[in-house]
């Protein structure tokens, strides 16, 4: 369920536009991550203090992830289903529904998006653990790099995947009519 159907003047009503957006964002994230990983040896040999190198490297991962999360958040709203304290306090007697309160379809599609994202993350963690096992005999520096990269990718994916899946799978949005 989309909270807004427009992003920077581009209509998000049609699924193909949303899919283009999701694909573009993930391609950019992939390029950034690759650049980040590639930049580590350069940064390691530079005269910069280790602390600044860490900040630059984190910024390379965290900032684009945050921007991607913000775009998805603006389109699909706050993905985690909120508990409504007002409704709990009145034991459900407050019957009027808030404008943004999820209805049964909203709950279903959001839960499905979370479930699919959880599946992807579970597979990713299994495969990345195998990759780490293979590189176990590598140098400590490359081990640290591999672990940090995987942690950042996990954080990025967990923040953006549910929204991306929702945008990818939702059919064309019907009009208000």
């Amino acid at each position: 369920m989309l909270r807004t159907t427009e992003l920077l003047g581009i209509s998000m009503v049609e699924r193909k536009n949303r899919r283009r957006l999701v694909a573009t964002i993930y391609v950019i994230l992939l390029v950034v991550i690759t650049a980040g990983v590639g930049a580590v040896p350069l940064l390691a040999h530079s005269h910069l203090h280790a602390r600044y190198i860490g900040i630059i490297w984190q910024a390379l991962f965290v900032l684009p992830s945050f921007v991607a999360w913000k775009i998805f958040h603006d389109l699909v709203g706050n993905l985690p289903l909120e508990i409504r304290p007002a409704k709990l306090a009145t034991l459900g007697l407050s019957t009027r529904r808030d404008q943004d309160e999820p209805d049964e379809r909203d709950v279903m599609v959001r839960n499905t998006a979370y479930f699919k994202a959880y599946n992807v993350l579970a597979w990713y963690s299994v495969l990345s653990a195998q990759a780490l096992y293979i590189t176990f005999n590598a140098s400590p520096k490359s081990m640290l790099l591999a672990i940090l990269t995987q942690v950042f990718v996990m954080v990025m994916m967990s923040a953006t995947l549910p929204g991306a899946i929702l945008l990818w799978t939702e059919p064309d949005v019907p009009g208000e009519e």
Partner: protein
Amino acid sequence: MSYSSTPDARSGEALFNRIAVLRAERGLSRYELAEALEINYQTVGYIERGDFNPSLELAFRIAEYFRLPIEAIFSRKPFRPLSEEIYGRRHSPRGGAEK
């Protein structure tokens, strides 16, 4: 295993409905119907298009709202046009004769 109530015609889950016709007949917008049913207007559109099968509870709420039996609004088989249902009963296919 299906994790959603997104209809799948191949598995026989498709549920047909007359909500769009009833809404047009009563001059209601999707937004107005959604307000009355306390759901999102997008959900009304998804139900009308057959992209989402409502829960039994919501289906009954829709039936109560339109003051019609649930089977007049939802069906597992495609609906015949209302005109055909009304006039088809009165007239034989060859025309003229009442049943």
